[in-house]
Symmetry: C2
Subunit: 294 residues, 2 copies
């Protein structure tokens, strides 16, 4: 199947499962509306698609992959709600709609995020309790680790600190993106792998692969931002005309950033060699991220 069709098929399965997960009969109306508002805002469901694609590659349990993918999407969504708050990024818009706190108020947005995060674990644990499968719990644990104090939240905290004090250096830039972006992609492929019976070697290859596409995602993001700014200004920008924010483009310049993207894509692809032909979907994801236009 071509990658766009595959993503659409995965996305539909995920959205159906999310509808099931988000019935929430015991949740007060306002809180439920706030939780659903952001979850249904129509993201690309990249993380759950990676869970499904990895699970399918290793002939894992598709039902478990769907459940874990929904949990990851809830966690990703809560992180966007909190990131958009006035005391953090202060973004009024998200995915073309007013951000959560613009609709529900800041306090309810904090709670909607807290509720989505807690519910992700309630949902994943609740669906797993009758299986009693150790690999399933390893997947949930991996998600908690990568989403938490040493993973995504660490990246968000470092990013905010850097925003306030300036990023010190290249190393700090990589550390922030590894944690803020890559960790949740790593969680996705490892969770997908745990729905099968992965070897340690497979887990290591998949972790490197996801770390690579995380970096690739960030580099291409910086390139797109840079080119968008240039289009807006109608000219080629010199380094000094850009904002102070340290990005891969401000660090290396545009051409070298593009070369780095190519190199990162090549290295990610190499990690898929042990999986042979079955790695088609994960392979196509690299190109999709590298060649995206937004």
């Amino acid at each position: 199947m071509d990658i766009k069709a595959q993503l659409a098929a995965y996305g539909e399965a995920i959205n159906d499962k999310l509808d099931e997960a988000m019935l929430l009969p015991n949740v007060p109306q306002l809180l439920k509306r706030a939780m659903r508002y952001s979850l249904e805002a129509g993201g690309k469901r990249i993380r759950p698609c990676l869970v499904l694609g990895t699970s399918e590659m290793l002939e894992g349990d598709r039902e478990a992959a769907l459940v874990l993918g929904c949990g990851l999407e809830m966690i990703h969504t809560y992180s966007l709600i909190h990131d958009d708050l006035p005391c953090i990024d202060n973004d009024d818009m998200r995915r073309g709609r007013p951000s959560n706190h613009k609709v529900f108020g800041e306090g309810q947005a904090v709670f909607a995020g807290d509720a989505l995060l807690t519910y992700a674990f309630e949902w994943m644990l609740g669906q797993g309790i009758e299986k009693n499968d150790r690999n399933y719990y390893r997947a949930v644990l991996e998600i908690a680790r990568r989403a938490g104090a040493g993973g995504m939240v660490a990246g968000q905290s470092l990013d905010l600190e850097a925003e306030q004090n300036g990023i010190a250096d290249e190393r700090a830039l990589y550390a922030i993106h590894d944690r803020k972006t890559a960790d949740m992609l790593i969680a996705a492929v490892l969770a997908g792998a745990y729905t099968a019976n992965p070897t340690g070697e497979q887990l290591r290859s998949l972790e490197s692969y996801a770390s690579g596409i995380g970096l690739l995602f960030q580099i291409t993001d910086d390139i797109l931002d840079h080119e968008g700014d240039e289009a807006l200004m109608g000219k080629t920008l010199g380094k000094d005309e850009k904002s102070n924010k340290l990005t891969f483009v401000s660090l290396y310049g545009l051409e070298k950033a593009k070369t780095l993207a190519e190199e990162t894509a090549r290295q990610a692809a190499q990690q898929l060699l042990p999986f042979g032909e079955r790695a088609g979907f994960l392979h196509d994801m690299i190109d999709l991220i590298k060649d995206r236009k937004n």
Copy 2:
């Protein structure tokens, strides 16, 4: 052992375990400091003490009870950090010290809360992974349920909504307190019970007991607030002189609120009858809450 000594002994064991849990070698310095700041602010550790006491009563696994108790305390602490934020209760002080956002800023306080919540699950799941004990996962699931969108966060969201729009009636008041206060106490005793091999009947009695002490806690809180206000004003306050906030005292008057506290305490004690003499600690907790002076 007398209740004060028992609480001190449990508290020490909990604090030692929390020190172990909070080493956090992979967490950035600022985030780690913000997480520890609120956790080490010296709460009474009521919830973990209930886990330990219930576990001991049923001859459960003490080590598991310690781990689950620490998880609950992390979740309780995160909820206080977020509740104190300017967009929610706007409290500058907590437990006699500046609240988290006054020290670390609002954005970092949001992340410190998010990190504590996520880490609670990382910690509990990480400690449980080698056991592969279904009752242990039931305990973690119970904690997620009671802390989340249908439990504590529901109570917080309803409370904020009521603060903004006024509480409609008695039923709403009970609904808020059940979820905001009682649910985490229920999670504590049920988690403690799951460290043993509880019967369904035992679980039901313990849930009713904890629901009762949650209500008792709230009624006595309202009575203490009322008496504190009176002492401050140097006279007996009429209903109309109090704030508009609906409390058990404003709803029933002081005397009837005291009667309701006695009745609630009696009903909670009845739930402990099936456990006989082994329920000493849980029994003493009722009196402790009923007769507290702050």
